[in-house]
Every structure is written in structure tokens, then in C-alpha cells.
Subunit: 277 residues, 2 copies
């Protein structure tokens, strides 16, 4: 059954979501974006059926928040009461603790149901021009139900599957933010720290897969990621301290030319990698 | 003109070199390996034309050392005097300072010419079973001539090109080891340090490209890499200290919730990445 879905924020993720819904379903997709040119681009390439006007908010079956966490909360604060009863409000923010707490505080001011989500996909570019429905194929879609009724959770999950996601994983905001600090945030801090070496400027011709892989995400959107890092400060600090500790152990073994200790460290890392994939 | 090439050590790299030569040239390839089963495997799949006997060493046009640095030096010490005049002796060791110094000390004990090399390719597996001529396609081949005559350097470069390498880069042992510490060794230490986080065991379903890329090489050959790290101890310590310094700067900005400083750090990393690729 065709639904009316409003995507708020047509950047890399919002644009890709709009395209993936249009490509794979019969739903009507309307867009909201601060940039009129982006709305025009999205319309002309068929990523959206049109711009969402004020009355569309009152009739939408689903609102997909694909903006920075603060803007997402701001949108709920301003427009939450306009949404119709049982409109599914969902988001694509990279950190779940803050948005879930924020929406919970606003609960009762509207009749929508909120399901927190995180499409685990991206690329090292930003903006609508970089959006691409293909980035979701086979990826994980994380859902933190946050007390939403089961039918709403299943509707978000079904939409994710139809967009091409390979699996839906259910989690809590706490677990999500703890694990994401390790799987996503830390690699971004690492990539940026790595390319700051003066030897980075000499890499051409001397590098292969290792350089490419570690440095890939260093071309970062600093406004978005500094927010995400600070929104998940404690979990990220825990991972940074863990990494600093482990790097320091390697440093000591190398400095002391302690080959047995170095081999033991490498062996234990290789065992973990083989075990967890 | 068909030459007789002996590949010493049929592991991942030696096996791939033998396969790439057989696949792309008319040269005869003979193998040396401590493991008889590996020699049989290599013979039966056509990676080599046969096992190199003592008299083959005396008639070989080129000897390709694809063993650990100490074993490579040991081979030169034991067999260097048997090689015919102007036999090209070359290697595929990941670190060039030690092997170049070692062979230089032995110079005069043989009539071969030595050209140091480093095929910048690999994969996160080891041994002949993992060897694959395809890993070289488009990769960099680094050559440190170390005083070898131009004709010999050109012959090694031409063979690399015919094996499928995309470019040959000329360097010195010192520059090689300094840059490789950054582009290759540091990412290996990093991958191992990274997977040691207790949260690594929770990554399934919560990870995408960033986790995969940073952790890829953690399934490491600890005997080989601990040697390579210690053979390049000073350059690697320099990179580790640089990385620890940069990670610590990120840590401080996050800990102090200094968003402006965090954005400035991320912006400078993004600028470097965009500039150097």
C-alpha cells in the first residue's frame, strides 16, 4: 500500500534513502531541505516526488529525519504536534542516546510514534550529489525501538529491507553508541590522526591497500563528525584510551626490541581477528 | 629472450611472483623452498617449471629472494659465490636498509649484481596456497638500485612491468624504510591494536566499511612482521610517536568538549587527505 513519506534533509544519507525508497517501492516521497537547489535537484532526478508543504506534515504516514541530531530534535520540537496520530517518526542519526532522550522528553507533545534507526552505510563524500541508493545494498540497518509499538518497529524494518539493507539488527541506544564508538567513530579519529604524519605527503608510489584503507575516511565532514564525537564523548573516550593503551604496548615491545612480546601481541590480535571476522 | 629465473621462497609473495612470471613471460622459473610439498604444489599448478638444483644456481640469469630478510642474507652468504657473473640477484623484502647493508658487506664474495626491490602488494593471508599473480596488477614496484649498473636495474624494472605492476618507483633504502614505516608498517600495528578492544567482539551487525578497512590486516603473520618491525625500529617508532601525539590531541579536544578545536583538527586532516589522495 502506497504511503506518504517525508524525508527531512536531503544530504548523502537522506538523498540515498529517498532514492532507495523511490527505486524499490510505490511510496510517495516528499522532501524537506534548507537548500532550494537541493530540492530541485532531487525532484528533477526523481529522488522525491516533490517538496513537502505544511499540510503534507499533517497527512504523512512516515517522517524520516536525516539531519544532524540537534536539527532533528528541533524539527520534532517545532513540528511534532502537527504530525497525525500514529505517524511513524524515525531518524538516521549516527548516535542514538541523545536523540532518544530528546524525543522522549518531547513525548506527549504529539501523537506520532518514534522508532530510532541508523542505516550503517555511507561514503567519504557528503551532500545530495553524492547520494546513491546502492550504498545500502547488503548493509546493516540498526533499530533502537525505544518503546515504540511492535507494528511501527516492523514497518521501519520492512522499509529498510525493501531499500536493500541486508539485515536489521535490534539494539538499545546504549549498546548502539558503545559499539558504534568502536566500529565507526574510532576509525574516523584514527584516519584523521594517521594522515597528519609528515610522511603522508610522500606516500604516492609507496602505498598500497593498507594506506588506502586506513586513510579512506580522513576526508571528513568536520561539522557533522565533531558533533557526533561530542554527542558520544564517554564511549569514544573509552575506545581512544583502549587504543592508546594497546598502541603503547606495541611501542614498548618495539622500543625494547622484545621480539617475543611483540610476537605475542601480534598473535593475540590475529587470533581475535580470525575469531570475530 | 627466455631467461632462467630462480625464485627462493614460495610463500605468498614468492609464489605470486613465480605465477606472474610464468603467466606473462617465456622465462623458465625454478623454485627453492624448505617445504617439499610447497615445491610439489607449485610444480603441479605450473607456477614453476621445476625445483632448482645446485647446478641451476650456477647458470641462473636471475635469483629472486622471497624469504625473510635474515634468510635472504643467509642465502647470499651461502650461495653468493656460486652465482654466475652478472647474475641479477634481487629481493622482495619489505624493509630495505638491512638487506642492502648486509649484501653490501658480502659484496666482492660473488660476481652477481644486487638490485633491491619491494613489490607493494600483498593480502591478509600467507603461504603458497594464497599466492595469486593478480595481486600485482596496477601496484607499485619499488626499486632501490644500491649502486647496481643501470642495465640490471632496467631488467628488474622491465620484469616487474611484465608481471603486471602499474609503476616502478626508484628510491633509496633510507627513503623506502622511512615511508614504508608510515604507509605499511604503522597500519599493521594499528589494525592489531584496534581489534584488541573488548568491543571488537560485539562488532557483528554494527559495522560497515570503517571497521572492515581498519581491521583488515590484523590477521597478521607474527613471525614475519615482528622481524620487519624490529628491522625498521627507528622509523616505526617515529611514526608511532607521531600517531600517539595526534590521537592524544583528538582525545584532549573531545575530553574538553572543545568543539572548535575538534573541528580544526578534523578540517586539517580532511585538507591533507584531499591534497595527497
Amino acid at each position: 500500500m502506497s504511503k506518504k513519506i517525508i524525508v527531512v534533509g536531503l544530504g548523502l544519507i537522506g538523498g540515498s534513502i529517498a532514492k532507495a525508497i523511490k527505486l524499490n517501492t510505490d511510496h510517495t516521497v516528499l522532501g524537506v531541505d534548507v537548500n532550494e537547489d537541493t530540492l530541485l535537484d532531487a525532484c528533477s532526478c526523481g529522488a522525491i516526488d516533490g517538496k513537502a508543504g505544511p499540510k503534507d506534515l499533517r497527512t504523512a504516514d512516515m517522517v524520516y529525519l536525516c539531519v544532524y541530531p540537534e536539527s532533528a530534535l528541533e524539527f520534532v520540537k517545532t513540528h511534532g504536534t502537527e504530525l497525525k496520530e500514529n505517524c511513524i517518526l524515525t531518524d538516521a542519526c549516527g548516535i542514538k542516546g541523545e536523540i532518544c532522550r530528546g524525543v522522549k522528553e518531547l513525548q506527549g507533545t504529539g501523537n506520532y510514534v518514534f522508532v530510532a534507526g541508523h542505516p550503517m552505510a555511507g561514503k567519504e563524500l557528503s551532500g545530495f550529489a553524492a547520494s546513491d541508493a546502492g550504498i545500502f545494498i547488503g548493509a546493516s540497518y540498526l533499530i533502537a525501538p525505544c518503546g515504540a509499538p511492535e507494528w511501527a518497529v516492523q514497518e521501519v524494518a520492512a522499509l529498510a529491507k525493501s531499500m536493500g539493507f541486508g539485515q536489521v539488527v535490534y539494539t538499545t541506544p546504549e549498546q548502539h553508541d558503545r559499539v558504534i564508538a568502536f566500529t565507526s567513530q574510532l576509525p574516523h579519529v584514527l584516519a584523521c590522526s594517521y594522515v597528519m604524519s609528515p610522511r603522508c605527503r610522500e606516500h604516492q608510489g609507496f602505498s598500497a591497500g593498507s594506506y588506502r584503507d586506513v586513510s579512506r575516511v580522513a576526508n571528513i565532514n568536520e561539522v557533522l563528525w565533531s558533533r557526533l564525537f561530542l554527542d558520544n564523548r564517554n564511549d569514544l573516550l573509552l575506545e581512544l584510551d583502549e587504543l592508546l593503551k594497546n598502541l603503547t604496548a606495541f611501542r614498548a615491545a618495539i622500543d625494547e626490541e622484545n621480539e617475543e612480546q611483540l610476537k605475542a601481541l601480534l598473535r593475540s590480535a590475529a587470533e581475535i581477528k580470525r575469531e570475530v571476522g
